[in-house]
Amino acid sequence: MPFIPHTDDDIRHMLDTIGVADINALFDEIPEPLRGASLDGLPAGLPEQTITRLMRERARQDEVPLCFIGAGAYRHHVPAAVWELTTRGEYYSAYTPYQAEASQGTLQLLYEYQSMMAGLTGMDVSNASLYDGATAVAEAILMAVRANRRAKSRRVFLAGTLHPIYRDVIRAIVDNQGIELDTLPLPEKDGALDVSGLDDLDEAAAVVIQQPNFYGRLEAVDALTDAAHAAGAMVIAVVNPLALALLKPPGQWGSKGVDIACGEGQPMGIPLSSGGPYFGFLCTRKAHVRQMPGRVIGRTVDLDGKTGYTLTLQAREQHIRRSKATSNICTNQGLMVTAATIHMSLLGAEGLRRVAIACHEQTNRLVAALTEIPGVEAVHSGPVFHERLLRLPTAAAPVLETLAGEGILGGYDLGRHDSGRERELLVCATEVVTDEDIAHYAARLRAAVAGG
């Protein structure tokens, strides 16, 4: 019996103690017609050796040597120590740290995480994680609407340069809460927002700005933040935490800094893994801490005055506040945050800065190599972090298919979600991409484009 330790003797003894004849009798409160479901469609159980072989074959099927896709998820080097530590049973198989005294390991780690994230974003406080980057933005929007007492509306402006999938997720989540989503009514200029577009923000509760934006471009975040604030809107920054090792933190944007900084934590030690589990982070100002969704850990003292850590501000949460909670979130992404905390500790500020610069440099080299190919050109010219939008002389999809057959994932095809942009390709290089990789990709792309 897989994972069940009961011997025949145990079963007999336990049934005797309970005073029933067999295990089925324990289900006698389930009305007869509902009992004994048919499970004929299920396969028989497998020994570990069989599933091991199956999974190894499947994993091998999905391997691809070279990846130049970003678009919200990035292939980085993750130190071996990160996951060797993170999957230790004491982290891996613990529950949410409800019993603080028996969970000081996880709790202290989360306090360290909150401190690192606050430092990285330049904000006062951080929660202990949300599901992913997209839902973090949705939660940030709900939070801003609650917190912004100046604005009378429930109208939120999303940057036109925000990740299109984030936009979809936000819509799905806030749709039923009477929040009006609007796109910043601004002409796109070289792939970045024009600050003049914020002149007529109409009673906005919040404005969402992504830096670097979906096209990899850097936004004029200082001016945008100040303009939004001037209009009485809160500013929500959607940021790549790795980029913040190099770029100005949202807490310092404009004259006052943003109100909420959030985003996808994946670049901090989380493998690509088909899209998850990742983690969302959310940082804010002290003033708004009680409007924050998700778990928060606080430092306190015990009966003897010794320092310890505990979940705090639980009065915001669903298990206490129920229908009046700041969010319905309960289980979040604790193990991912464990990995990220270890990752950030290993890299440190200087290590992260070097990784960020290497990503940028390799992306510049990639773009230079690819745009040497006749007909391939950069769509925008302004500064980027580690992605740039290219235009191919032909539709991207068949080219990408050819490259995939050669073990190269060439980029994110904008035509995938946006008809009319079938020739546009968003490419990305990170620190794991070598100059040889770039040369190889360029050579294969040249051939694929010529063949197409």
Binding site: Q61, P79, Q108, L313, P383
Partner: protein, 501 residues
């Protein structure tokens, strides 16, 4: 030394050098200065050994399944197979980009599709989406689908979701996030939903009802069919909160009970790890009526046996996407491995032995004189005892017992939930624990009550053997200290542990 923060072990200029590109590249000249950071963010400056040592030692300050019996009610803390972890972390899975083409995702997608099919079978429903990233997101998806369903029929008068008073906090919180008002339904003295009250509540405003069955009270909702007929009859739909699915897995199916939509906590019933607070996965299953509204993505198998993602094109009525990519893929892989190892027979045994263990501990505790809250009911996979009597007579609270259990080497059961039972512990042993472990737990409970009756201070001071004693939670919430600052008052360095014998 043991409790020093990683920041307090930092020294300026120290680095784990092999972990970053070696070259000290100049700040890129093509990024305008206005975009650049002028200060270095607060991060520890430590060596690789310091990191490994710190987080190894920190880990030892946790209770976990791998180290302790953890009978946390409603949380299903059972053994997380190591194979699930190892196989989900094969390089081919870890390195796969979420936007990678389907041609380079057939291995992963085969797992997703098969798990969708298995979950549909085991819940008696017609389709599954694995995208929700936790139970609460599964709930959200479910209620959002109910709303989308009514809206699709232009049935806009339905503004209420019914929720029993024993429900998890996520239920009402979710209903509100979906734009509904919540109407609470009381519980009768046997632990079933109060049918009279339900009848009164159900009506044209009813969008649906959210139920956990067995309920959070640890008992099976016996009139479930009656309730389903009542709600369906009024045009509402039934939502099944799968938190307690472990209790009936393979023995009874929510679909057969009349539920229209369900979420499954893969991190409970399908034994993916809780990870100290996630990641979980809140896969949903739906009946035919709700199929068009399922959240994306979903994997479909084509005629030729290949797999593909369903998009908005094929499912125009979808409630949309709940995550940027495709949910907690790695968790899904772990659940898949577990499900395949269990197979048909294994799944039935899960609920059988979870129920056997719960009823055994309940019986033993009752025999030892503890107050089992629903004396005349079977336990499901969990049950409630109350210290109301002991609290009154001796001052022994449920929290005292919980804290003292830690000294005995047992994680505490869930305390003070469900809210409607005074001084309660909700105890869920799970099927993977041995009789010896259960007996040890019962003996600890007996010993602790005796200690409390003899000298209540023994319990009030507990725990004694943990890294810290009972923490001041009021201070934590009042004097918020959420972030370390170099300037913050630091406790004087802990001295090396000493003892004078």
């Amino acid at each position: 030394r043991e409790d020093k923060l990683i920041f307090e072990q930092s020294s300026p200029g120290r680095r784990a050098t092999v972990q970053a590109p070696a070259a000290d590249l100049a700040t890129p000249g093509d990024i305008p200065a206005e975009h650049l950071r002028s200060d270095a963010p607060l991060m520890p400056e430590v060596s690789e050994l310091q990191v490994v040592r710190h987080y190894t030692r920190l880990s030892q300050r946790n209770f976990s399944i791998d180290t302790h019996f953890y009978p946390l009610g409603s949380c299903t803390m059972k053994y997380n197979p190591r194979a699930s972890n190892r196989l989900a972390m094969l390089p081919g899975f870890l390195d796969r980009h979420p936007w990678g083409p389907a041609s380079h995702g057939q291995g992963y997608m085969a797992c997703v599709w098969e798990l969708q099919e298995m979950l549909a079978e085991v819940t008696g429903l017609d389709g599954c989406s694995l995208t929700p990233m936790a139970g609460a997101q599964g709930e959200f998806a479910g209620v959002a689908m109910i709303r989308a369903y009514h809206r699709s029929r232009n049935d806009d008068a339905r503004t209420e979701i019914l929720v029993p008073d024993a429900a998890h906090g996520t239920n009402p919180a979710t209903a509100v996030m979906c734009g509904y008002t919540v109407r609470e339904i009381p519980t009768d003295s046997d632990g079933d939903v109060d049918m009279e009250a339900l009848r009164e509540a159900v009506g044209p405003k009813t969008a649906g009802i959210m139920l956990t069955n067995p309920s959070t009270l640890g008992v099976f909702e016996r009139r479930i069919k009656e309730m389903a007929d009542l709600v369906h009859g009024a045009g509402g739909l039934l939502y099944y909160d799968g938190a307690n699915l472990n209790a009936i897995l393979g023995k009874a199916r929510p679909g057969d009970m009349g539920f229209d939509v369900i979420h499954i906590n893969l991190h409970k019933t399908f034994s993916t790890p809780h990870g100290g607070g996630g990641p979980g996965a809140g896969a949903i299953g739906v009946g035919k009526r709700l199929l068009p509204f399922m959240p994306l993505p979903v994997v479909e198998r084509a005629e030729d046996g290949s797999y593909q993602w369903l998009t908005e094109k094929e499912r125009p009525q979808t409630i949309g996407r709940l995550s940027a990519f495709m949910g907690n893929a790695g968790v899904i892989l772990r659940a898949y491995v577990y499900a395949r190892m269990l197979g048909r027979e294994g799944m039935i045994r899960v609920s059988e032995f979870a129920t056997l263990n719960a009823n055994y501990v309940m019986t033993r505790l009752r025999e030892e004189g503890f107050q089992v809250w629903f004396r005349n009911r079977r336990a499901s996979h969990e049950f409630i005892i109350s210290f109301r009597r002991e609290a009154k007579e001796y001052g022994i609270t449920a929290m005292d017992v919980a804290k003292r259990l830690l000294d005995y080497g047992y994680h505490a059961p869930t305390t003070y939930f469900p809210l409607l039972v005074p001084e309660c512990l909700l105890i869920e042993p799970t099927e993977t624990e041995t009789r010896e472990e259960l007996d040890g737990f019962v003996e600890a409970m007996v010993a602790i009550r005796k200690e409390g009756m003899e000298n209540i201070d023994t319990l009030k001071g507990a725990p004694y053997t943990m890294p810290v004693r009972r923490l001041d939670e009021v201070r934590a919430a009042k004097e918020l200290d959420l972030v370390w600052h170099p300037a913050a008052p630091v406790e004087s360095d802990a001295q090396p542990k000493r003892s004078n014998g």
